[in-house]
Symmetry: C2
DNA sequence: CCAGCAATATGACATCTGTATAACAAAGCC
DNA sequence: GGCTTTGTTATACAGATGTCATATTGCTGG
């Protein structure tokens, strides 16, 4: 009887990445409570012991998954902004609108995100990653806002405007992921447009009055 | 030797409530992953077996905690709105501003909330409670918005305006809880004020243009 | 084609989980 | 004061968890 190969020996980098992606799928599907070493490895089609061959433990794997998902997300949004051309106003608009359509407006993504957020309290590494990711999300917003408002705008104006943009986008994103039936992506875009016009419509001293 | 009383026999309603509050504290402090039957009961100063004397299981206890925390939250915000007097505009403003100050703007509360949200995917009861709580949060917003916009405003206008208010408030609340250093409650209020003026400044056809 | 290394699998481990069961004890009733 | 009720504890159990030590196995350089 011819013995079938019992496993495949793959490129280490590929295996690492496939474990990370399996973790993301599990977090999206089962939440943090249902995502264990064995569940992840089954999803990746791999024995449970292999996890510790590539990662110091499940906590490290989850952290690397956070970094991976977060980077992909920010990269997606920046790519959307870049595609909008050179006008910073159009860039910001594209950046914002990308949040209301797939793959960003996605209940699975929110579920994954919630799993990460729920670890911030207990896991210092996750807390660190969150701070980094949040900064790399806000940085481009502040850059675009600064360009739109022009050099006369104060730092406070820029900062608060960016905060306002981020807040509305996060809130709409949250709601549309939690309950897609409460409003459509187009409606979200209309709301966001109104808000953007208000915030960056008057080029001077928008919020610090 | 005089034997000390080994436990206290308390009013069932009181014990139930103390278990619920202990659960809320544990969720805030340790997250969903660190909140087990034994941890909750230790926090409540009670033996582990007692949980099942008052609740069908830990899932039910967590669900009741969700209902309790959610109701308290909504009640707080409605109380803030009521204290603002009869003008619906001032009511809405007070309702919104309450989100940026304690006890609503509180990292522990967000942590608790994240724990609940992370269960929506897997626990149908939690999903149900979320829908209810969300509705009871939006209902007063829509009521106030409708009063402000007046009878000429279409249902779509009212709905989308309420969505916009809720989204900005949620986003600002999220950010201020996650990182209190990024802006102050006063700054959040200024941003929200600007948004409210935009949304309900023009009494007609605000968003459906 | 063989040797040796590294990727992968296997099984065992202590610990923690939620729950079930039974013994205990505190308060109320007669 | 004894009895009943039931709030409360203690213990045990099966299963799941993360990790570890060890045994395989696939691949590659000679």
């Amino acid at each position: 009887m011819l013995a079938r190969a019992q496993f495949q020996r793959l490129d280490p980098d590929f295996r690492r990445q496939s474990l990370i992606e399996a973790t993301a799928r599990c977090l999206a599907r089962y939440g943090i409570g249902g995502t264990s070493v064995r569940v992840i490895c089954a999803e990746a089609g791999v024995s449970a012991g292999l996890l510790r061959h590539y990662f110091a433990g499940i906590d490290e794997l989850v952290a690397e998954t956070y970094a991976d998902v977060g980077d992909t997300l920010v990269a997606n949004m920046i790519a959307a902004a870049d595609k909008a051309g050179p006008d910073p106003r159009e860039q910001l608009r594209a950046f914002v609108m990308a949040s209301f359509k797939p793959p960003i407006a996605d209940p699975d993504l929110l579920a994954t995100w919630l799993a990460f957020w729920s670890l911030i309290k207990s896991d210092p590494r996750i807390r660190e990653l969150h701070t980094e990711n949040y900064a790399s999300h806000r940085r481009p917003v502040e850059r675009m806002v600064a360009e739109i408002l022009g050099p006369e705008a104060s730092d406070v104006d820029v900062r608060l405007t960016a905060v306002g943009v981020t807040a509305l986008v996060d809130g709409l994103w949250l709601e549309i992921c939690l309950d897609a039936s409460s409003f459509t992506p187009e409606e979200a875009s209309r709301i966001a447009d109104k808000w953007l016009n208000t915030l960056v419509g008057d080029p001077l001293k928008v919020l610090a009055d």
